[in-house]
Symmetry: C2
Subunit: 225 residues, 2 copies
């Protein structure tokens, strides 16, 4: 998958149960729109959505399963169960929360990585991180690439946006790790996408700005409030 996405756009096609577009059918058509628009990869949530998407488009998929657990704030591919579901989806890459937060049942991130590698040696692994320390750790754990997905979405990084200070956090990660870095999280405009790629991001994941019409509508309406 990494070869396909180098220098290219990944479009995230997700709609959780409480969102207006929640439907594997709709997500598969969103993926088709992304393909026709020039995207080279898809990020998608849940085994069901990924299976539908793979019927519709011939693009590599980064799979995640978002699921809430009572004993942890980690919700992106948090346990063995989600890894197993993603293996069944035939996605080319699995992304998982790679933050330093406690996982459900105190599972260690390193254990999840080993588990995935043992079950399927060809599937690639993306580390969704929020801080520089987590990025460095992810490289040490043998992830194939790192995504800035969670920067701004953990207790420690709350309120931060990837684009703050001309993408300073992205620059810091790029300087300190050697595996491919994917810019993700608040890449909202074409100009921001361009800037991330110019700075050296290997690829960028854009989701809400393309596939969440409710969020886009809010951004328009918000201009006049």
């Amino acid at each position: 998958m990494l070869e396909n996405i180098k220098g290219n756009l990944i479009v995230s096609c997700q709609a959780l149960p409480d969102e207006p577009l929640h439907s594997s059918f709709i997500m598969s058509k969103m993926a088709l729109a992304a393909l026709e628009g020039g995207a080279k990869g898809i990020r998608a949530n849940s085994k069901e959505d990924i299976i539908e998407i793979k019927k519709e488009v011939d693009l590599p998929v980064v799979g995640i399963v978002k699921r809430d657990y009572e004993d942890s704030s980690v919700f992106i591919t948090a346990t063995y169960k989600e890894i197993d579901e993603l293996m069944e989806s035939d996605c080319e890459m699995i992304a998982m929360d790679a933050t330093n937060r406690k996982r459900p049942n105190n599972i260690e991130l390193a254990e999840l990585v080993s588990y995935t590698r043992e079950k399927n040696s060809t599937i690639q692994l993306m580390a969704d991180i929020a801080t520089l320390d987590e990025a460095v750790q992810a490289e040490q754990l043998g992830f194939d690439c790192i995504s800035t997905t969670l920067h701004g979405y953990t207790e420690i990084t709350k309120g931060k946006k990837l684009y703050h200070d001309d993408f300073k956090f992205l620059k810091d990660v790029l300087e300190n790790v050697n595996i491919p870095i994917i810019a993700e999280g608040n890449v909202i405009t074409p100009e921001m996408y361009k800037r991330c790629m110019e700075l050296g991001a290997y690829s960028s994941v854009v989701g809400g700005a393309i596939t969440r019409p409710k969020e886009i509508t809010k951004r328009f309406v918000g201009m006049m409030e």
Copy 2:
């Protein structure tokens, strides 16, 4: 309908048969996303889509029927047939091509307006125009409002964009007609939407930038080509 949309956003939810999201179901969910995002009106194409949308959201709808005719380049609600279909859809407003181009079967625009008024006196009429002359003519013909939809999309206006020269065309129309003017066509960013409203647009229709993920993807991908 005009009261509802005053100072507010209308989201156009359209996907023609050759587009990836072509589906009345998907369009109804797009309309739901628009509603949840704060839109106060929907513009939609075809009786089928409008009926589905009206099941899903309680927002006024501007209806159109796009259909190609061999003897004319007019394709937005071009003849009596499309008017009849829209009457059956229960839309609150009908938008029709109000350019000076020859219509199919040489029907006159004035005849279409009279026909609609006679069949249903409560339905409102929007004139989709491309030039200032057409805007002035639309007001004389008794349209309830004018939309700049076709500016840039007719032979005479080819290559023009609504946002050119700080929305000069919109300003010209605003200065020369007294009925409400809707800014539509190439309102691509929240900033453009804001500018149109500040200049005095009664409302603005945003479509592609919210509900056409293929077009949005293209805009991102295009930055790196």
